[in-house]
Amino acid sequence: MRRVAITGAGTINALGHDVPSTLQALRNGVCGIGPLTIRDADRLSVRIGAQVKHYDETAHFGRQQIALYDRFTQFAVISAAQAMKQSGLSIDEELACRSGVLLGTSGGGLSTVDDSYRSVYEEGKNRVHPFVVPRLMANAAASAVSMEHGLQGPVFTVSSACASSNHAMGLAFQMIRSGMADVMLTGGSEAMLCFGGIKAWEGLRVMSEDGCRPFSATRNGMVEGEGAAVFVLEEWNHAVERGADILAEFAGFGMTADAKDIVLPSADGAQRAISAALADAGLAAEDIAYVNAHGTGTTANDRVECLALAKAFGPAADHLLVSSTKSMHGHLIGGTGAVEVLACLLALREGVIAPTIGFDATDPECPLDVVPNIAREAKVTACLSNAFAFGGLNAVVALRTA
């Protein structure tokens, strides 16, 4: 079976506008969550989020691109450009047809939808900008990335709420492994921090008004973030033959459905996804030193996730390091799994486990080592990253040192 290398990474998120600054922030336990600076924030009851700050779209894009690119597309295009640059890949005519893009997003161009609704409903206007549809469509980001780099193979978008990125990366991995493609740009992007986006989440009553404290007894909900991360996945021998720097091996993927409840998670479904990822990667529970948790900071998720990890790992759970970096970069919904792979790369390549910050009280229902507040050094040769979505969809990726 063909193996899959990660040969490039790019990101823009609340912790940094590229990979080095993001890794530095993850290592230092920096919190990217702060007061939301969006229109009509005073009408929100949830007024915090992990926004991408100091962002000037005109520094990255021309006028015609800005007219066509929603914020979630901009984030994806910026991340993909960084990843391609790091990979050193040059795409010739033959490789272009064997290369594709597979990105996750949950909301697509939600700010575009929000702005257009505002103008027709609130402002009573009878026309919207002609590019509303190409901006809002969920595949806008994947298509823009394919056009920027001339990638003409499989290109599409996966939307499965909070598991979107993991599903996207898992499928991209399988496409290369099975021989359908040689290079895939994959990851996810989200930009839901607009008035309508937050309002919708407020309604569900799962958001914290004061901070994201995963696994802590004082946790009181999730905090939304925004941004993107994109990786270059490449067929292993292709990467070796061109002398590429292989960041890590994409080793396995597991996905399951709870088939139970539209919002409540199930330990059984999550555990089966974790076990499936281990089996797919040919890894034993003892091989895994680190798990980047889904760890949303909601009462239900964190309890169920700990239960699922305990079941899947058995006695090996005692030595497991588990952290939720959502405490720093927020929950990027459809983009979250992609940004969390960066924490996995930090663990695999630098032996640094990014902490779960905001941790202030032990919860007996979360009895794992959640690396509270301060990063830790550890030797990690393989790790997992969990994503468990509304709708009961679970997707877990397994990575291994190169």
């Binding site: 006028r63 015609q64 066509l68 026309r127 002609p130």
Partner: protein
């Protein structure tokens, strides 16, 4: 600014040209305006003059709104402004 100058200013902005470089005999192709640039121009005209331009991108030639040249577009806008008044 009269209608002619305002239409030229809108087209110039879309085509990334100076208004002084735009001639009335120029076609969309001469201006380097693609189909997206054209619908953006029409949207900008609708916004600027507060009117509805009868244009269907499926059959640009059959539309009442003549987009064959800059001059034709100016005339069409002038007519729409007159009809509204």
């Amino acid at each position: 600014m009269d209608t002619r100058e305002r239409v030229i200013a809108i087209i110039a902005e879309q085509a990334l040209l100076e208004p002084s470089d735009i001639r009335e005999d120029m076609s969309l192709a001469d201006l380097g305006l693609d189909s997206l640039g054209l619908v953006e121009s029409i949207f900008a005209i609708e916004e600027a003059f507060d009117l509805r331009v009868p244009f269907n991108a499926n059959e640009p030639q059959a539309s009442e709104f003549d987009v064959s040249t800059v001059g034709a577009m100016i005339k069409a806008v002038e007519r729409l402004v007159m009809e509204r008044a």
